[in-house]
């Protein structure tokens, strides 16, 4: 129901604000435990389907999980894997520490924490269904985090759990009062392992919440409300109004409004043609766990923007580079007071960019992508309306990817789409133009720029398609990419025979943005 990109957008916004760190990156990985890497400012989340309940309940759990991970990123210097006892115990204590510290700033999360505790309690495993070390570790986590146990313990097990939880609370209290971090707690985990009579390196099975209650099964609503009531009483949240309060928490109106807005937004982006596009043979890159920062070359982006700065400022400065030593003061005095030249500019406002991702581009794939990102950032900066499409071959089939539809604003999510496309296959330009035709007919760009480094598979077909587009009043330009100047020139010469209105050669990939943007000036 919720689009990955809509989720990613809200998760990125919230995590950055909650952590007060604008460099946080969020990835969505299906059916995987959430994991945070404080050293890299990264949070990985599963989709809401990871959780049990209705769509809304799932979203609520997903949002609170994001908050916990954001708090981990803020307060913990290290997050270990959950699949061994040592990491599991450390993360359990750190969860509580992050929660306590986080609530100091984000008091409003309290109700959502109660809801989360209630609903996750329902899906927690019964202790009598577990055995050995797994049972003890799970029991410790339940008792330490909530003060209760689900199911039965036998013999000396309970006293071990009580002892462990008491010690863990002491460690936690000390860490919080004395401003100690992850290292302090980590050093004390072996002691906890001894009290619980466990083995640090023993593996710990990870079971996802939705698989515990049976995948897709809904949550028992009455049971959930009763659980929330219990928690409200235990936590002493306004005891006089505990019934009303529990109902409020159960319903979660405030988050519901947000959820509905996101559902609407997901539908809206589907209606924008994202769904119907599949029938036309076009594809949207769907991975949301690709790191786009590798193709963000801030230097190149800045350079490109400053090259075209005068398009937005309305004036530009000229420097004399030859002749006598230049003194701007005397030069200006001699002038009749016009040091500013009004710069009248008209540029085409709609562009479609088609990117070749055939195997020959593979060697310089990253640089090529970086140049494309710089181009897109500069186009956004210049407020030019544009769409970006790419083509490659995937499992023997030609794919035409929609990197950025013209209706959307360029964001890092689009860069992420570009980052995941692998350069592979040939240059079936004619097929791609055919696939794109319906899209471009509705977008009606003034200019279509095709960036390619190879010769198209079928010359005649390409020529035909280029002419079709030109008859629609679209200016067709090709940019030939070559490794050396000679190679680039010969590619662009070949492209000239294909009826393009203009074909240019680029041998330095960093020049792509400049060349493309210059095409737009009339």
């Amino acid at each position: 129901m919720l689009h990955n990109e809509v989720l990613l957008d809200i998760a990125t916004f919230l995590s950055r604000r909650w952590t007060n760190n604008s460099n946080v990156q969020v990835f969505i990985k299906d059916q995987k435990m959430p994991i945070t890497r404080p050293d890299k400012n990264q949070i990985s989340l599963p989709r809401p389907h990871y959780f049990p309940g209705t769509d809304f309940q799932r979203y609520r759990q997903w949002r609170i999980m994001l908050w916990y991970e954001a708090m981990r990123l803020t307060f913990c210097s290290k997050v270990m894997s959950y699949d061994h006892i040592f990491g599991f115990l450390l993360n359990t204590i750190e969860t509580k520490r992050a929660e306590i510290l986080g609530l100091r700033s984000w008091k409003g999360m309290e109700k959502e924490i109660v809801f989360n505790e209630g609903i996750s309690w329902l899906s927690k495993p019964l202790l009598n269904t577990l055995y050995g070390k797994h049972k003890i570790a799970e029991a410790f986590s339940q008792y330490f985090l909530t003060g209760s146990l689900k199911g039965e313990l036998f013999g000396s097990e309970f006293s071990r759990i009580q002892g462990g939880a008491a010690r863990a609370n002491e460690i936690l209290d000390y860490a919080i009062t004395n401003d100690q971090g992850t290292e302090y707690i980590e050093l004390r985990i072996p002691e906890l392992v001894r009290i619980l009579e466990l083995n640090s390196l023993a593996s710990f099975p990870i079971i996802t919440p939705s698989s515990r209650v049976g995948f897709g099964r809904s949550v028992d609503e009455k049971g959930l409300l009763a659980e929330i009531e219990k928690l409200v009483k235990r936590k002493n949240l306004e005891p006089a109004q505990s019934v009303k309060r529990s109902k409020e928490i159960f319903e979660g109106h405030e988050v519901n409004a947000e959820f509905n807005a996101l559902v609407k937004e997901s539908k809206r982006s589907e209606n924008k043609g994202q769904e119907g596009i599949e029938d036309l043979g076009l594809t949207i890159p769907k991975d949301v766990d690709t790191d786009e920062s590798q193709i963000y070359d801030l230097d190149l982006i800045q350079r490109t923007k400053s090259q075209f700065k005068h398009w937005t400022t309305g004036w530009y400065e000229k420097h004399e580079e030859t002749g006598d030593e230049f003194d701007p003061e005397t030069f200006l005095e001699r002038l009749s007071r016009t040091f500013i030249t009004d710069f009248k500019l008209s540029y085409r406002s709609k562009v479609a960019i088609v990117l070749d991702h055939s195997s020959s581009i593979e060697d310089s794939e990253q640089d090529y992508k970086r140049a494309t990102v710089a181009l897109c950032e500069a186009l956004k900066f210049l407020k030019i309306k544009f769409g970006v499409y790419a083509f490659s071959t995937e499992s023997g089939q030609v794919r035409c990817w929609i990197i950025k539809p013209p209706s959307a604003n360029w964001t890092r999510i689009h860069a992420r789409r570009l980052a995941q496309i692998k350069a592979l296959g040939g240059t079936p330009l004619a097929e791609i133009y055919t696939l794109l035709e319906p899209v471009l007919r509705s977008f009606k760009p003034d200019l279509v720029v095709t960036l390619t480094d190879g010769e198209p598979s079928d010359y005649d077909a390409v020529r035909r398609m280029v002419l079709t587009y030109r008859r629609l009043g679209i200016r067709m330009v090709a940019l030939g990419l070559g490794r050396t100047l000679n190679a680039a020139v010969s590619i662009s010469q070949n492209l000239q025979y294909l009826e393009y209105e203009k074909s240019l050669a680029v041998s330095m990939l960093g020049d792509i943005p400049k060349k493309v943007i210059n095409l737009m000036q009339t």
Partner: protein, 266 residues
């Protein structure tokens, strides 16, 4: 009003030194950081009359220089604010200078160079020379603001003293609010602090273009005033902060509401 200004980063001192040295000053900073309050406070400290122009795309040369009028068959020249302040030797305040058009900047540059003169082509080529004690302070908004352009370097160089005014740290913002709102109930202090934190967070988001608007100190003051009318803090925050974002779509509004929900609680 000028007494309400809190000089938290020593800007007044810099302004005074520049003034005594006969140098013109430019103040750079986002809106709502107290640029205008600072200049007003300074003018009252040095006991100078303040003449202000607020620049926009509509500001014309004639606003600065003056224009001819026809009165009872007689042609008169009505002086513009620049000419007037040069003659009177007052303090000229050029607000949001980088919103001005190139031709306006050109005339200003003429007056601001070392000769401190303008030739009135509008009034028979009369030359106006500024009084010795004439002084100018300008402000510019960061380029991310709508309608702002980069100031030509030539003009920037006429203001060799540059003051950067940022949003103040949270504790200073609280102090500023206290100066503007006569009484804040102790029980409401925590909510005011939360609103300051919220503002800061929204400003950070706007700085990286995650949101399209960054709230100013005016908004935190307004929030505090509303709070004094016994409105629920969450509601006050919704009215003052969140509703503004609705113009960019419901998702933007909800994002800000989420911040408010997670900060305020009940």
């Amino acid at each position: 009003m000028s007494e309400l200004y809190l000089d938290w980063n020593g800007s007044l001192d810099v302004l005074t030194r520049a003034y005594n040295a006969g140098l013109f000053t430019i103040i750079i900073g986002p809106k709502g950081t107290g640029k205008t309050s600072l200049v007003r406070r300074f003018a009252s400290l040095v006991n100078k009359e303040l003449q202000s122009v607020n620049f926009s795309l509509r500001t014309r040369e004639s606003h600065l220089i003056g224009s001819k009028t026809l009165d009872k068959g007689e042609i008169n020249f009505v002086e513009g604010i620049l000419v007037k302040s040069m003659k009177e030797g007052s303090l000229l305040y050029l607000d949001e200078l980088n919103a001005a058009e190139a031709d306006v900047l050109l005339r200003l540059d003429e007056a601001l160079d070392d000769r401190r003169q303008v030739v009135l082509k509008e009034a028979e080529g009369q030359t106006i020379t500024a009084r010795q004690d004439w002084s100018v302070i300008a402000t510019i908004n960061p380029l991310s603001h709508v309608g702002t352009k980069e100031l030509p370097p030539q003009l920037l160089s006429r203001f060799p003293v540059r003051i950067r005014l940022e949003y103040p740290p949270e504790n200073v913002e609280l102090e500023i609010i206290m100066k503007h709102v006569s009484k804040i109930d102790d029980s409401k202090l925590d909510d005011v602090k939360r609103a300051i934190k919220l503002s800061k967070s929204l400003r950070d988001a706007a700085a990286v273009e995650e949101l399209y608007y960054s709230p100013s100190i005016r908004e935190t003051i307004a929030f505090t005033r509303l709070l004094n009318t016994d409105i629920q803090p969450k509601k006050a925050a919704e009215i003052v902060f969140a509703n503004a974002y609705d113009q960019w779509g419901e998702v933007e509004f909800r994002k800000v509401m989420d911040m408010i929900i997670s900060i305020f609680g009940d």
